[in-house]
Amino acid sequence: MSPTPLLQVEHVTMRFGGLFAVNDLSFTARPRQITAIIGPNGAGKTTLFNCITGFYKPQVGRITLHQDQGPVYLERLDDFDIAKKARVGRTFQNIRLFARMSVLENLIVAQHNALMRASVFSLAGLLGLARYSKAEKLGTDKARYWLNKVGLLHLADEDAGSLPYGSQRRLEIARAMCIDPLLLCLDEPAAGLNPRESQELNTLLTGIRDEHGIGLLLIEHDMSVVMGISDWVVVLDYGRKIAAGNPAEIRADEAVIRAYLGEPDEAEA
């Protein structure tokens, strides 16, 4: 285990009226590791993601992302700055693609900030300067790389909305990778996938972790994914952390079985 954490969540509390969706939650996620967040429906997993990525501002707590240049306190940043400056990428539980834009365009939009800089806020592009076309070429190359990774290269010019469900999920991951994240948060990426697709997803995610050195935060109900690829598991119930440990420990944890996993053989899947 590497000594410095990548993400540090400390005493985070997110209330909606009287409901504690996330309650005094603390955990750390390490670089080059897949940290799974599991728990029953309504446990507060998506709310936690929204706090990390700035869509919600927690009432209490601190969320720190450790970059090489020093720590960044995420709860102080706007959502778009968390993607832009802190470089935290995410996907959504109910897929959010730019449906009427092509697959390739989805990935190009994700590189907006880099391309804006290269095009001097689009002005260089407006004047047709070579500088922009070179930047766009690099952007296309990156997009092609990720499309190839997720197996969508042959569909690059199709409308994103016309893809089948499983492909849309993979496209959303590819799009999030195009912002060059340090931390990638995936909200139920295996939901609705068939077993083969789910297996491919495992390969993709471990590839992202091992080849690109990115830390992953993974919300997942599919135990074959969670137990198969995660290095660390955090279990939530009613907004609280009820357990944390490596997959084997979690599988054997009494509290987790009671609250979430149920009968042990069910967890095998």
Binding site: F80, R96, L97, M101, H112, L126, A156
Partner: protein
Amino acid sequence: MAAVNLPRALRDGVLGAVVAAALALPMLGFRLVDSSQALTLGFRFDWVLWAALVVGIGRFLLSLSRDALPGRLPALALPNWGERFPKARLYLGWGLAGFAIVLPFLPFADRSLVDKATLVLIYVMLGWGLNIVVGLAGLLDLGFVAFYAVGAYSYALLATKLDLSFWLCLPLAGLFAAGFGVALGFPVLRLRGDYLAIVTLGFGEIVRVILQNWQDFTNGPAGISAIPRPTLFGLTFTANAPAGKTTFADYFGLEFSGDHRVIFLYFIILALALFTNLFTLRIRRLPIGRAWEALREDEIACRSLGLNPTTIKLSAFATGAMFAGFAGSFFATRQGFISPESFTFIESAVILAIVVLGGMGSQIGVVLAALLLVGLPEWFRELQQYRMLAFGGAMVLIMLWKPSGLLSHRAPTIRLGKEKAA
């Protein structure tokens, strides 16, 4: 086929008749009669009766035959030209542009035709401007005419009070309008859809009301007249040159003709419109243009990718407004006279209708829709009073048959396929 449902048809018919009568009573029933001394209120009972009867019987018949009719209107069997002939759109665009350039020199092009074409082009340009805001960025703006007004008044005031030339005022007017675009953008940043539409509508009215009431500055309802005409590198288009100036006709040794000015104005708006079009086509392929479209598709996803929605929205409002500002200053110089009357809500509605009818985001669609909605009524002046009726009818038909507009096929702004093929 299902059995005829007579009771239901009767009920529908009676209901339709009652509603029609209720509507016809105030709208058709009452009329002012000018009886030499005073105006008196007349009443046309027969008109109301006829309206109720026609609607009632029509509804009855429709209801009777409902089961025989297909459940919903079949989608118009218009092939998707854009998809089938990817190049067709390009050729059509060049063809239209070429035709527009030679139009004033064609044998049948008289002064009134060029004049009408100028009017159509104003709306094409406004449509293209609004297309950036509505079609690309997906921000429903019902107050677009405000920026048109700002552009027109900017030129009118700068020219009449400070004696600045049209060519200097044109960029200034665009700049002012863009400034107003940002000013409108700020308060509505958090709004979308219907809410945004209502606030922008209010904004449009505010601008008009200010123009109407700020007597000292805008001359109120009386408007601004004697707005200078544009010159071609200092050459005027008048019969006799003002002191120190040369007329266009003298310089080129031509017989003076009023047509020259009309044709000159036509070319100005053509150039402005083509500039708008080229700008839009270009910017759609640039980061900012793609960000507009992404924002239209999903704002939350945009945020998650590090796109700042504030700057993206403001830039869309400002850019669209800038083109309205250009068009506005052209309008002012063409008319020579402007008043708040020219900038009512109905103008915003017409421009929006052009964009929606044309197919959101489609450049050629806007041209076709402008020809249809602005050009046709100009040729059939006698039918002017039915214009709004035709308008509404066209919108209803389009929404039934082609809900996404006349030309709605969107081609990606960048392709891998082409690179592979090349």
